[in-house]
């Protein structure tokens, strides 16, 4: 579609409508939380940050999120590779499975873990899974599962398999080929998927809330902390951590935007190569 400068009244109206909607829906609430947190100045904020439970919650959140992200990146890349470079029966079903966590309610995800591993559940694990860290890790992994495959698969799909085949004929093993030929082309997609995964993992609430039991200082993540702070009427604490998590989210978004620009450059360069003829 052609890109124009707005000239007609209708055009300006459209722009005003869209921007206005965006402002009211998205920007205003963000402004509200910044305002609400700093309502009484910085002092209460700094006080709230002093809470040892908070630092523990933040630590826990980061450790769990980064672990979940790392695991999901490794497995996610394998899943993408299998889906895009191998042909076998049932491939489309696997494809569908990958998309499922998007539409799964996180609460139900956590719930399934309880049904499986909880007291009286189907499996009796040797070490505690629910109401403990392993369960929370699994919950986080579940909700973030699709991001890496969904980012890497399209890149692999449009990547010609012939350089890989060339590498095979030159004697390179599958792993060597992946490491030296494929990875340099897909790493941007992988990192983008990883950042999305991390963002989602940090902000996860529903699944973890169900699985963890929310024991403060032990199995309380940052989001659960916020929830508890609200019910404890610790407004400033809740708002502060909310703002903190929101700020991290924005930072991750900046990284994602930069990566996207990078991906477009790569694609353009590849198109240029083929047009030299």
């Amino acid at each position: 579609m052609r890109e124009l400068r707005p000239r007609s009244a209708g055009a300006f109206l459209l722009i005003a409508l869209v921007l206005g909607y965006a402002f009211v829906l998205v920007l205003a609430p963000i402004g509200a939380i910044i305002g609400g947190t700093l309502e009484r100045g910085f002092a209460p904020v700094l006080d709230a940050l002093d809470d040892p439970n908070l630092s523990h919650a933040l630590q826990l959140t980061f450790i769990l999120s980064i672990s979940a992200t790392t695991l999901n990146v490794v497995f996610g890349v394998i899943v993408s590779w299998v889906l895009e470079r191998q042909r076998f029966m049932g491939r489309r079903l696997l494809n569908l499975l990958v998309d499922l966590p998007f539409v799964f309610s996180p609460v139900i995800a956590g719930f399934t873990l309880i049904v499986l591993f909880g007291r009286g559940g189907w499996i009796d694990p040797p070490f505690a899974i629910v109401f403990a860290l392993p369960g929370m890790l699994l919950a986080k992994m579940f909700v973030c599962l699709p991001f890496v495959p969904r980012e890497v698969s399209p890149v692999l799909a449009t990547l010609s398999p012939e350089p890989e085949q060339a590498a095979y004929t030159l004697g390179a093993s599958r792993w060597t080929t992946f490491r030296r030929i494929v990875l340099p082309s897909i790493w941007v997609g992988v990192v983008y998927g990883a950042v999305l995964t991390l963002a989602r993992a940090l902000g996860e609430f529903g699944a973890v809330a169900v699985v963890s039991g929310g024991l403060e200082g032990i199995t309380e993540t940052a989001t659960i902390y916020i929830y508890r702070a609200l019910s404890d009427r610790n407004r400033v604490g809740a708002y502060t951590v909310s703002l903190l998590l929101g700020g991290i989210a924005v930072l991750l978004l900046v990284v994602m935007t930069w990566l996207q620009a990078r991906m477009n450059v790569n694609r353009e360069r590849r198109a240029y190569v083929h047009s030299i003829e």
Partner: protein, 306 residues
């Protein structure tokens, strides 16, 4: 950029691999895999992927479905037909539907505006659209309460004018859902609009079609599959949304409890049966929607190709 279910960027799989010499054999798929038969490495990878997906997703899904029907079909329906459950389902569906309609309309307008016009700050706005995906849903709820809560200036103003509270009431739920699904329709429609051939537009214009007519009769039919899939995604998201709802709507049964919040409260209360019933339904609906979206996207891509 075409967006997948979670807002991540998808690239079209129909981008032609230029001049691949295997073109003839790709028209008809070869009978078997490229890898040699006794290739342990390839099988190892495949098995890993299958176990990973099966364990992480297949098993939980099966668990809930099995447990939901454990007591038989009768018990399953019993758990669904309690007044609380029904109210929760009704609330969920209503808010999700309202939200989807608004989101779809505004999403199409936003995508159109983004592709059609230049204006200062456009790149920033484009990046900004993805913000709701990154923000934790709980934080979304907190933000909305801070903005529209009964104790705030805005909230009390609105309540005085319209007699309607935002927070702890359905309007708040709709706002929260709109926030978290904001990018879905936009990112679904945007790439289709970007790929739209200029020729069709110009042809319509030489036939003296107004902008509105051009949009409705030339552009919209092409983007319709993307619009529908974006709408379906928003709807699906709305069904499963939890974090923001529980803050914005509270947990008042029969009043402001959506399906997911209901499940949560049942789990907290220890009533597994009730929780499982609704969970099973939600999963089935989720599965159906995913399949529908997949079909639509495949069809949409083949349309764009012609």
């Amino acid at each position: 950029m075409e967006r997948g279910l979670g807002g991540e960027v998808k690239r079209s799989k129909t981008q032609v691999r230029k001049g691949s010499s295997v073109n003839a054999t790709q028209r008809l798929e070869l009978a078997s895999d490229s890898a040699p038969r006794l290739d342990l490495g390839a099988w190892g990878l495949r098995l890993t992927a299958i176990i990973y997906l099966g364990a992480m997703i297949g098993i939980p899904t099966a668990v809930v479905l099995i447990k939901g029907f454990e007591g038989g079909v009768a018990a399953f329906f019993d758990s669904l037909l309690t007044p609380m459950a029904l109210s929760a389902i009704r609330l969920t569906l209503t808010t999700a539907l309202i939200m989807t309609v608004i989101n779809t309309v505004m999403g199409v307008l936003t995508a159109y505006m983004l592709v059609r016009y230049t204006f200062p700050g456009k790149a920033l706005f484009n990046a900004f659209i993805d913000l709701p995906i990154a923000i934790p849903t709980l934080v979304t709820g907190v933000m909305l309460v801070l903005l529209y809560g009964p104790q705030t200036a805005l909230g009390s103003f609105i309540e005085a004018q319209t007699g309607q509270r935002i927070i702890f009431e359905p309007p708040g739920i709709v706002l929260a859902l709109l926030f978290v699904s904001y990018p879905f329709v936009i990112r679904a429609v945007q790439p289709v609009l970007l790929n739209l051939s200029i020729n069709q537009e110009e042809a319509a214009q030489t036939l003296s079609a107004s902008e509105w007519t051009t949009f409705w009769r030339v552009i919209f039919p092409v983007i319709r599959p993307a619009v529908i899939s974006g709408a379906l995604l928003s709807f699906a998201r709305a069904l499963g949304e939890f974090g923001s709802i529980i803050i914005v709507a509270g947990n008042v049964p029969m009043r402001s409890q959506t399906a997911t919040v209901y499940v949560y409260s049942q789990i907290e209360a220890g009533d597994i049966a009730a929780a499982t019933g609704i969970s099973a339904v939600l999963i089935l609906v989720a599965f159906t929607i995913t399949t529908l979206v997949e079909i639509l996207q495949v069809r949409g891509r083949s349309h764009a190709r012609t």
